[in-house]
């Protein structure tokens, strides 16, 4: 019996090693197509190790159990003339296979606990970023910085034509954004995750971070990327129509590059502030408005303002009607519909530009302009 068990054990080892080596090979590359990737953080490596250990234990147990079962299926079949035994219990064996798994679990609970405590240690972050989920985009705000606040939205960049299969799909189909989150390498970054509407979940596998974005509550989570690179992820919690279309791209760069980037963003923010006080010509607003339209309005209102999920803009009563009403819809949205309130999402310059654009594009020809100050005044009521 002992001999048999040993032989079974040896038999079990073969497939286990095979499976593990397949996974190990797959894990050799940075991103695997068949297995979890350890990613670029220490926590990610620990999670990956936990994953592999428990997968290994499960595989060994599975091979043993199924080995016994298939042995029985082969040797104890009636067609081979095997007569059934009559035993139906064994207290010793039953106690053994209750107690042994318990200790295996205990052994697994130890590394799981330490890793979990590590993940929950949010202290001593060098950088805080507020991550806010919107239907269907992410907003990033950098805190704890001197100078202007930096905050921006990150939208899906994949064109609708690729999604509709009228154009060849690019390499990063659905995993590309107009403006990625930029983080410095080897820096403990704390994310303060929340949402504006429904629950989202911010997931970047390579950073080993997945945390739900719950409206009205702030969740803390941290990462520390040890390698520069571009890391991609997606919203993980069903959040409505475009749940599959709100990717995350994180650009991890050197600390120097990060400071330069931040300075540039702060500069940009300062410029926007200045622009707020300016008056623009119709042409200037149209140029700016076109790009804003394409990233914020196009998905629902169509490339030519023909409508879709949203109402048509070309020739619509709103876009060719009262200016104040049009502005109001842009800022406050239409409650109960897919039309969101963009007042908090676009700055006053961009809002002025896109409303102007809508009134003077797609055959609409109102000739009027909205200035940033109009938006500001409207918001103040």
């Amino acid at each position: 019996m002992v001999f048999k068990a040993k032989r079974l054990g040896m038999l079990a080892l073969g497939p286990v090693l095979l499976l593990m080596s397949v996974f190990a090979m797959a894990a050799g590359g940075e991103v695997s197509e068949v297995n979890m990737s350890p990613g670029v953080t220490e926590v990610g490596q620990k999670i990956y190790d936990l994953h592999m250990v428990i997968l290994g234990i499960s595989t060994i147990i599975g091979v043993l159990v199924f080995g016994v079962m298939f042995y029985s299926i082969y040797y104890h079949r009636k067609s081979r003339g095997h007569k059934a035994a009559t035993f139906h219990e064994s207290t010793k064996v039953e106690i053994a296979w209750t107690v042994v798994p318990f200790f295996i679990l205990l052994a697994m609970a130890v590394p799981a606990t330490t890793t979990l405590l590590d993940i929950y240690d949010n202290d001593d972050a060098e950088l805080d970023v507020v991550v806010t989920g919107y239907q269907w985009k992410w907003k990033y705000e950098y805190l704890n910085e001197n100078g202007e606040n930096v905050s921006f939205f990150s939208n899906l960049r994949t064109p609708q034509s690729e999604i509709d299969n009228t154009e060849a799909k690019g390499e990063h189909y659905l995993l590309e954004v107009d403006e990625p989150l930029v983080l410095p390498v080897n820096t403990k970054v704390r994310f303060l995750v929340t949402a504006n509407d429904v629950i989202h979940s911010w997931w970047v596998p390579a950073l080993a971070v997945k945390r739900d974005a719950v409206p009205g509550f702030i969740n803390e989570v941290w990462t520390n990327a040890t390698k520069e690179g571009v890391y991609r992820g997606q919203c993980a919690e069903l959040c409505g129509r475009n749940h599959g279309f709100m990717p995350i791209v994180v650009n991890v760069v050197s600390k120097d590059e990060y400071s330069q980037w931040l300075a540039a963003k702060q500069q940009e923010a300062a410029e926007i502030k200045e622009l707020m006080a300016q008056t623009f010509t119709l042409d200037e607003l149209m140029v700016r408005g076109k790009t804003i339209y394409e990233t914020n309005c196009l998905a629902c209102h169509g490339a030519n303002g023909e409508g879709g999920v949203g109402l048509p803009i070309a020739g619509s009563a709103v876009a060719t009607g009262d200016l104040g009403h049009h502005l109001d819809i842009g800022i406050n949205g239409v409650p109960g519909t897919a039309m969101q309130a963009f007042g908090g999402q676009l700055n006053d310059v961009d809002m002025a530009a896109v409303i102007t654009y809508q009134r003077n594009a797609f055959g609409n020809n109102m000739g009027d302009t909205i200035q940033p100050i109009d938006v500001y005044n409207h918001k103040k009521g």
Binding site: A85, E89, T113, I163, R211
Partner: protein, 526 residues
């Protein structure tokens, strides 16, 4: 024999007014099969859209309606009623009772189901479409941000809960009061045991689900803010309440399946079930643990670390009684005299695939690792190994096992075995690759995906079409059996089968055990 002996009434009124446990069981089974086909159709639409990257067939809203309705119809329409149907047919015949304890309520608990699902399906044609927040319908996506159909959905859930509670009370009352003299608790067939425990779970948690949807109703229509932080509520509260129902719910689905294979494996091993007592205790332990592990579905919501640890340890513990069950089934086969008729094939399929689902369940219980698994296709693969290869395979095994007893005709064994192998291959082709894409980072419930997931998704879709098509074979085999199967009259259809249901004539007469059978006190459980 009784002096008042009558057969079934004629025509449609037989089915509408029947209080006969066999008629009601039959209706439950056919109803659940039709829901299985409907939910399967939704799944086919999902897999067809996911066949390749890009949006081809449906728009994202409709895709979300499909994932939502697929889950709801499969859980509440197909799997749960199928086991209630099986309970109706088999529990009285297994414990030597003439019928269920509350036959009129039995009729009612069935007949409220079809209109409810008709109403639920009709939401597809409403303005704004069917519910699209997933079968877990997390607030506020399912409340503030939901279309008008959510109100109908809430009503449906209430009625389904009512039906389940009535069905469960009936089963509890029957098992407790109507066992034949000498049929002590520890002599009951394991299927009866698992259903008794399941019924208690149902009675405990269906009201909790009703509470959750009632709070939704209040939030949607009466200005409350249970699930809205803006009014002092908390969206995560919904998840706690939902999963307090939802986790026991998954055991509600799987425990009767445990019962079924615990009947079938001994029959085709020609050997008594190994460790009957420990099977009962393991079932009870799993039921108890199911109440204290709900938040493992919510590791990423931002619970305090102490909460995470508690739910992680409690969840890991479930592996112990579940392991006991698997070891017992394998030991039942050990040194038996095995044959591999269709019910046995499906039971072995269950044993292998459910165990794999158990392993991935154990992996998911590890909270830090779950931060990577959570809401990915790894989870989709995991719960389909448990729900389909677990519950549906065992249900399929049950139909093949007891169908000859029900209708006195033998099914086509070759076709049955073919059904098994196509199902087995189709199922694995569908769901095994989903482990890979999940680990590689594909979130669940997305209508379109990045290019690196394309190959496995195509494989998955092909597998799903194969698995789906094989169910037509099953339907054909069952109908062909009922209409023109080879007639049999042996009381014991399977030579290794034990239990009271095999002591009555074949086909099972309309009324059985009008006088209680004698139970041999020396006779062990069956």
């Amino acid at each position: 024999m009784g002096d008042h002996h009558h057969g079934p009434a004629k025509g449609f009124s037989r089915w509408l007014f029947t209080t006969n446990h066999k008629d009601i069981g039959t209706m439950y089974l056919w109803f659940s099969f039709s829901m299985f086909i409907l939910g399967g159709t939704f799944a086919m639409i999902i897999r067809a859209e996911l066949f390749q990257p890009g949006m081809q067939l449906v728009d994202p809203e409709f895709f979300n309606q499909m994932t939502t309705l697929h889950g709801l119809v499969m859980v509440f329409g197909a799997i749960m009623p199928s086991f209630v149907g099986l309970a109706n047919w088999m529990i009285p015949m297994m414990i030597g009772a003439p019928d269920m304890a509350l036959p009129r309520m039995n009729n009612w608990s069935f007949w409220i189901l079809p209109p409810t699902f008709l109403l639920l399906a009709s939401t597809l044609f409403m303005e704004g479409g069917a519910p699209q927040a997933g079968w877990t319908f997390y607030a506020p996506l399912s409340t503030t941000y939901a279309g008008p159909s959510v109100t109908y959905f809430i009503f449906c859930i209430h009625v389904l809960g009512l039906s389940s509670i009535m069905g469960s009370i009936n089963i509890i009352a029957t098992v407790m009061n109507m066992r034949a003299p000498g049929m002590t608790y520890m002599k009951m067939p394991l299927f009866v045991w698992t259903w008794l425990i399941t019924a208690f779970l149902l009675v405990a948690v269906m009201p909790v689900l009703a509470g959750a949807v009632t709070m939704m109703l209040m939030d949607v229509h009466f200005g409350t803010s249970f699930f809205s932080a803006a009014g002092g509520g908390d969206p995560v509260l919904f998840q706690h309440v939902f999963w307090f129902f939802g986790h026991p719910e998954v055991y509600i689905i799987i425990l009767p399946a445990f019962g079924v294979v615990s009947q079938i494996i001994p029959a085709f091993s020609r050997k008594p079930l190994f460790g009957y007592d420990s099977m009962v205790y393991a079932t009870a332990s799993i039921a108890f643990l199911s109440f204290i592990v709900w938040a493992h579905h919510m590791y990423t919501v931002g619970m305090p670390v102490s909460g995470e640890l508690f739910f992680m340890y409690a969840t890991m513990l479930i592996a112990v009684p579940t392991g006991v069950k698997v070891f017992n089934w394998v030991s039942t086969m050990w040194r038996g005299s095995l044959t591999f008729e269709t019910p046995m094939l499906f039971s072995i399929g269950f044993l292998v695939l459910f165990t794999i689902g158990g392993f991935t369940g154990l992996m998911l219980s590890i909270a830090p690792a779950d931060f990577q698994y959570h809401d990915s296709y790894f989870v989709v693969a995991h719960f389909h190994y448990v729900m389909v290869a677990g519950a549906v395979f065992s249900m399929t095994a049950a139909v093949y096992y007891w169908l000859p007893k029900w209708c006195g005709r033998m099914y086509n064994e070759t076709m049955g075995k073919t059904h098994f192998w196509i199902s087995f291959i189709g199922f694995n082709l569908t769901f095994f690759p989903q482990h890979f894409v999940g680990l590689a980072g594909m979130p669940r419930r997305i209508p379109d995906y990045a290019l690196q997931f394309a190959d496995f998704n195509m494989m998955s879709s092909i597998g799903a079409f194969i698995y789906g098509a094989s169910q037509i074979l099953w339907l054909y085999n069952v109908i062909a059996t009922i209409v023109a199967g080879e007639k049999i009259s042996d009381e014991k259809v399977w030579d290794g089968a034990e239990g009271l249901e095999w002591t009555i004539p074949t086909p099972a007469p309309y009324h059985t055990f009008e006088t209680p059978p004698k139970i041999d006190p020396a006779h062990a459980h069956s």
